[in-house]
Symmetry: C2
Subunit: 502 residues, 2 copies
């Protein structure tokens, strides 16, 4: 196995135990790891936890591509090992620690991180830990199912530790397109003109002398689990696809624009909608995370190209993917996240961006990150990259949550991640509003009447009409009541006046 | 004069009176005009007002590059002629009408408008009215002191009316760089690699048959008035320039990044600061509106290139500029606003962006547009284009306004235009906070202690500490009190507890 996986002989001499490899990580180390929903190291974090359990006092900084799995964020957070964590994460325990400020977290647009690290803004890159499927004859790295920020982390790292993943076949070689853009002021354009363009190399370049340890890992990524889209998601997806068809037929939207779709139920429902609709053929996907449905669409020969920074697959889909890897590799490109999420490329391609909100207010401001204004959920991820730069920016949400106790359309969002200036079309299962040529007051009336759930329409309209009457202005707000929905929920468990008990 | 100004003979046959020209504009016409602080038409709006005063019932839609002068926005708003106005405007009377929803207004990122018009999102372009300095032998248009959205407006217009401006010399020819980017999905990169690159033509292309009327105008643009920077602006500028020097010397910021600077006192103070500081030489400016100080810097031989979409000059500076036009033309490029504000180009060049906030909250969210959350000021303009894409995004504001009755650092901003994810360094005359590697709680503590005015620090710290204690979370907020500063101001005229009377 070593010869096959590690084709550069000198690195075979560095094969060692996870404990030995992890000894390069000490209290205060800044650890920059591979991983973007998939492709994160598993053994080194486990070793660190062992040392913590044995009594070693240690705090490290963890920088990844985006979220990882329990094997990183979960175990390290539970062991109290993390001082700083950036960027996006989705682990429940880590989230709780971040909200207690026990773990320091700064939310970032995913597209901007690699450049910040190269500029030295995040401090020295002490150790990079990278999961790889293989090492080439010249010592270059073949990543596994994500690219994330790994190329820049490796470039800047003082020391590099490799986890060679038995679960990922070395035949992944060729699926990645590794391109590190130049940095200002002498930066040239990113030469991507079509979603599937390959502009880089199929491996991560590295000075092999920086590799201090190589370990073998039998641990696969945690599998994603996707449920069938529910009725709400299907209703949202249906309206979205109808809207795009309508705009295309009207000549306001050219054919052939690539799609971005965030993670989650609605995203999957949109992609599932493509399967059933004859209008959508020859699709391009320029997204961040690719999921099971992309394989389905490839199988139906509906996809010209699918580009992302990571492949997050269910157990079943992963087996299928590895079995017919050569066929899927023709269609799929995995890129650094600064390329998959590049504002420049997203704008150039005219990506149709679809992202999910936590809550949206009557004027179209969007909260993607903070529950009740204070509690971080996961982070902004790439939603700002895509919403701000897509040719049409769709923001979707169910109209209600928690069985109606929460309205996802509120008078004023309790935190703003995406301003009205960057959000185009808002969709709930109730209806769709194209805000792009409406005044804020027109947006409010349309959102309340079309997108809000009927059980909240009167309450919202009452707020809006009193704000118009009592305060006026371009975006009338009653500042004393702007968060009355949220306050009522925090006090009674229900945003409805009277608690919805009637 | 006609032969010199209108070198394409067939257009000389279309010279007519302003009244005759304006007859192409009727009730319901969508009028797309040149103008971006400068370079707006003056005669046609005056004719429309005459007709309104004579009793004609008429409402038109006015789309410009950005703000114009009293000769457009002022007179048309006072005459009640405007149904829709987009984008950014700064006229007092028009603002009041927008806030009463008597004029419909939708706030847009300036970079995104031309493409939306080309896509048909704004509906048909009935009539374009363009101020020109000259018409070439082939009928192409030489704009005056702004480009704005004019090239796309002309391209899409059914009819075009030209106002030939006697006040602007035809020798302006050559200062403009007109490049209309392609639209998705087959869009190529915008080939600008340095602030001063010229990538287009020195004129606006047009089918001359679309020109229905040509009128001669003796009306100059209203002159800008710039006061000397006050102490607060100078203190902000000084910290900003020190910070950039420091980061450059530390190696975290490369030399040679171009500057963007919004309009206003601080922007001028920053540019004035360049004059006195030996560190700053060979400057590039990649901005939206260029003002008097740019001429001063050119005179000092400190500027390699200055790029913008408009030149807004005081009376004195305009005289000086026209007198030595050939010398200034070497250094200055005027572009369409979709190019001057292009996210792609701003990011590529690594622009240092400096914009002014109305208010900033303790977690670094920024309000640029809405006073007390409801009343529109001017619009977001290009601030979102630059803040989101610059290599460092500076957001500046005095710490207080109205003699201390308003704190510009508040618990929560009453409207969000720029989220914490897109704002880097915050500066008031009190101090500077680099938020890029701080958690929101660390940002709050730093902003309160360093940037807030001392008369508000206790009030802000009290809010913050109680929010941490009572609510917690990643960005602790007391939703019931988040706007207590604003509410107190609206009730008592002062944000200070006790009204500041002590």
């Amino acid at each position: 196995m070593p010869e096959h996986r590690i084709r550069y002989a000198p690195l075979r001499d560095k094969i060692t135990s996870a404990a030995e490899a992890a000894s390069h990580i000490k209290d205060g180390t800044s650890l920059f790891i591979s991983g973007f929903t998939a492709g994160y190291p598993k053994l080194i974090p486990a070793e660190l936890v062992k040392r913590a359990e044995a009594g070693e006092k240690m705090k490290i900084n963890i920088y990844a591509g985006a979220s990882t799995g329990d094997a990183v964020d979960g175990v390290l957070a539970r062991a109290g090992l993390v001082k700083w964590r950036r960027p996006y994460m989705s682990d429940r325990g880590m989230r709780a620690a971040i909200n207690r400020e026990e773990i320091l977290f700064k939310d970032d647009h995913l597209s901007s991180l690699s450049a910040a690290v190269r500029a030295g803004e995040w401090g020295p890159v002490d150790v990079a830990v990278v999961e790889v499927a293989a090492v080439t004859e010249k010592g270059q790295l073949i990543p596994t199912l994500s690219v994330g920020n790994t190329p820049s982390y490796v470039k800047m790292a003082e020391k590099v530790i490799l986890e060679v993943a038995a679960a990922d076949p070395p035949e992944l070689e060729g699926i990645h397109d590794i391109y590190i853009p130049e940095d200002p002021p002498w930066r040239m354009p990113i030469p991507i003109y079509r979603a599937g363009d390959r502009v880089g190399k199929p491996f991560i370049e590295i000075d092999p002398d920086k590799v201090v340890a190589v370990v073998y890992s039998q641990e696969p990524d945690a599998s994603a689990y996707f449920s069938d889209p529910d009725e709400v998601s299907l209703l949202i997806a249906e309206q979205l696809l109808d809207f795009v068809q309508h705009e295309t037929k009207k000549g306001r939207l050219p054919e052939g624009l690539p799609w971005q779709s965030g993670v989650g139920d609605v995203a999957n429902a949109v992609l599932a909608g493509f399967q059933e609709d004859h209008f959508f053929q020859d699709l391009s996907i320029y997204s961040e995370v690719l999921q099971d449905t992309v394989l389905d669409l490839i199988d139906m020969d509906k996809v010209r190209a699918a580009s992302g920074s990571a492949l997050t697959l269910s157990l079943h889909a992963r087996e299928r993917f590895f079995k017919e890897l050569e066929r899927y590799k023709d269609k799929i490109v995995l890129r650094p996240v600064e390329i998959s999420n590049s504002p420049e490329v997203i704008a150039r391609l005219g990506v149709l961006a679809v992202n999910t909100a936590l809550e949206i207010d009557i004027y179209g401001q969007v909260n993607s990150t903070h529950v009740m204004g204070s509690q971080l959920m996961n982070g902004i991820g790439g939603s700002g990259d895509f919403e701000r730069n897509g040719s049409i920016s769709f923001m979707v949400t169910p109209s209600i949550a928690k069985g109606g106790a929460i309205s996802c359309i509120v008078p004023m969002v309790s935190h703003v991640d995406h301003s009205e200036h960057s959000v185009g079309v808002i969709i709930t299962e109730q209806g769709l509003v194209d805000t792009r040529s409406l005044t804020p007051r027109q947006v409010a009336e349309a959102l309340i009447n079309k997108c809000a759930h009927p059980i909240y329409r009167d309450q919202l309209m009452d707020y809006y009409q009193r704000a118009v009457r009592e305060v006026g202005g371009h975006e009338p707000h009653l500042l004393g009541e702007a968060f009355s929905f949220h306050q009522r929920f925090m006090q009674t468990g229900d945003m409805r006046v009277g608690g919805g008990g009637e």
